[in-house]
Symmetry: C2
Subunit: 176 residues, 2 copies
Amino acid sequence: MRMFPAMRVKISGLDPHQQYYIAMDIVPVDNKRYRYVYHSSKWMVAGNADSPVPPRVYIHPDSPASGETWMRQVISFDKLKLTNNELDDQGHIILHSMHKYQPRVHVIRKDCGDDLSPIKPVPTGEGVKAFSFPETVFTTVTAYQNQQITRLKIDRNPFAKGFRDSGRNRHQQCQL
Amino acid sequence: MRMFPAMRVKISGLDPHQQYYIAMDIVPVDNKRYRYVYHSSKWMVAGNADSPVPPRVYIHPDSPASGETWMRQVISFDKLKLTNNELDDQGHIILHSMHKYQPRVHVIRKDCGDDLSPIKPVPTGEGVKAFSFPETVFTTVTAYQNQQITRLKIDRNPFAKGFRDSGRNRHQQCQL
DNA sequence: CCCTTTTCACCTAGGTGGTAAGAT
DNA sequence: ATCTTACCACCTAGGTGAAAAGGG
């Protein structure tokens, strides 16, 4: 499934005439598993993290493009897909439920991206830079723990419009 | 709007490790305008062609890719879009209605595709080859002239499924 | 007990030909 | 008279949270 809200970034300082790949991966914040304590509305440590999963990378679909192209637009990662299926073969990013994660944005000069692949770790070294934003750390769930999150999603995600204005007309049907 | 059925090609003889763009353009077959004569079920010349339109090229969305990748798959042009609006700014291919056209497939070695653009003619010369298939010539219309074409489209295009099995249940509605 | 999966109605987004109205 | 456009019901394709069912 997709992330919502999606990560969106603006980039400056690229060489306008150089080609780049932009990619995202998602790394564990710590070595812990969490549970949500309802009465205190807090995430609490609930043991050690599950075993690591295969590394996956989301390569932004506009890649490769020139620095000029990347800098002209807001770069959105709304098509990135997550799964908790460790055997996934769709190229989705694999995460454990009930763990804390940090998304990272990678800017990769085209000549350094030869072994860039959705199923290999992001290359490191010359011509590759990584950026992460602490305010984007999140905790994975399979069911919402927090009504404020549910409200945010229903109010802001266009695909959830069916749950706004909820009471009326929702269960009427027509048998022809 | 899209073409249906779409052009689909298989390519062989590429260098597996060379990168290529694949593109399509659509060129006039002759300098004539046509009309359909119903009683004889034939297209007849009905004057000279309208004035030329801005050149457009559909660059296959998998471009660029290696010869190996291109040769492994059937290459479909089903996302290509046509319009009769000469002022189109969506990058669609512009055609006159009631004219005869021939689609062409272009194979462009990556290093020869530097000035490849949806709004410029396909480059020619070394590293660029064009292919056309006479059986794919077609005549443009804004309304179908021929019931066999209508039937083919309804029977084969998944989006037209609503017109199959036509009589039953089509006009029932439910007023809540 | 708590977490996960499945199924559902309800959306977004957009591709069909029919039909009636519009244009030349 | 003939071609074109705008609108419509009906599809495909797939993204929502709720609720029920499943699982350790």
